[in-house]
């Protein structure tokens, strides 16, 4: 697959054909009986997708055996629940969103789904990963007019500057679940997902990304959320 942007010192390309499925979901208010029925349907659909090779949490993308999980984002955003799955391929990803919606997800949430293939492999913090990574950070971005006007040399210099910030993120304890390419089916061009031990670390990291001028070439939208089992998030 052609990369939208090149590999860097921090990020290695992967061509495993897997496909990210981002969900940005606003909770509907339902009668408890309807909600329980819808939740049960979604849990069945999740088991079905897991059986088809879906990874249903960021932890699974790093190779863990983990239960389906998402992030509780309502405290800071107009989105109540956010998260990312990794489907075996593009076709499975699209079909899976329909499976989930019809199984009951659509009754529980109004959802924006963003779908796109994985471009970069996961990168684990040198501090390792562990039970302390209770926060998630989702970054959506598009390359702006300045990036599109830049020369290859300017983009390479920019990538090197951003690598300084990414290396600092990793050293501080962030693990980055690679990068997915969304531009074929979205206004967003890329997704980055981080596992973070401490929400204050996100703020410090963004200061460093500002410092290296990460955002001169991007328009970005960021979400932070507390890790929760998806079964709990389905219940509200």
């Amino acid at each position: 697959m052609t990369l939208l942007t090149g590999e860097t010192d921090v990020f290695d390309a992967t061509s495993d054909g897997r496909c990210g499925v981002v969900f940005l979901a606003r909770r509907r208010i339902l009668a408890s009986t309807s909600s329980a029925e819808a939740s049960a349907g979604v849990r069945r659909a999740l088991r079905e997708l897991a059986g088809q090779g879906w990874q249903l949490s960021v932890a699974e993308m790093f190779g863990d055996h983990a239960e389906p999980a998402g992030y509780d984002t309502g405290f800071a955003h107009d989105v109540d629940v956010a998260g990312v799955f990794d489907a075996p391929d593009l076709t499975a990803a699209l079909a899976g969103t329909v499976t989930l919606e019809t199984a009951g997800w659509d009754q529980l949430f109004r959802t924006e789904w963003l779908i796109g293939p994985r471009e970069f492999a996961t990168v684990t913090s040198p501090r390792g990963r562990g039970p302390n990574n209770q926060w998630g950070f989702l970054a959506l971005w598009e390359w702006n007019d300045a990036w599109h006007s830049a020369t290859d040399a300017q983009r390479a210099a920019y990538d090197e500057e951003c690598d300084v910030a990414f290396a600092a993120d990793l050293a501080a304890g962030v693990s980055i679940a690679g990068r997915h390419r969304l531009d074929w089916a979205s206004r967003w061009h890329h997704l980055g997902v981080w596992e973070v031990p401490d929400i204050e670390l996100v703020t410090a990291a963004m200061r460093e990304h500002e410092h290296v001028a990460d955002f001169k070439f991007t328009t970005s939208r960021h979400y932070v959320g507390r890790l929760r089992a998806l079964t709990d998030l389905l219940e509200g």
């Binding site: 697959m1 052609t2 939208l4 391929d89 593009l90 076709t91 990803a93 699209l94 079909a95 329909v98 779908i115 293939p117 390359w143 007019d145 599109h148 006007s149 531009d183 074929w184 089916a185 979205s186 206004r187």
Partner: protein, 97 residues
Amino acid sequence: MPDVLWLHYSRPRSGWYELDAAARDEHLARFAAARRDSVESGGQCQGSWHVRGNSDYSTVETWLFPDPDAAFTHWIRLTEAGYPRWFAFANNIGLRA
């Protein structure tokens, strides 16, 4: 029957307006070749419509593809032809309901 709908909203980036006609034609020829390749590979372009009056974008193109990978490949052809350099975009994909 093709099962995948692909919607492509676009508007020229500022730099497009600064190109002379010959440069624009050169780019447009490359984009047209990419679209032609996609049609020859099974895609069906149904046309382009102006939506500037009620949208953040200028036009919307609609395509039908046999599967999601064909839609993705079409977009790769356009990106390799340099299309996103000159046009901001928002794409969308749908499976037949």
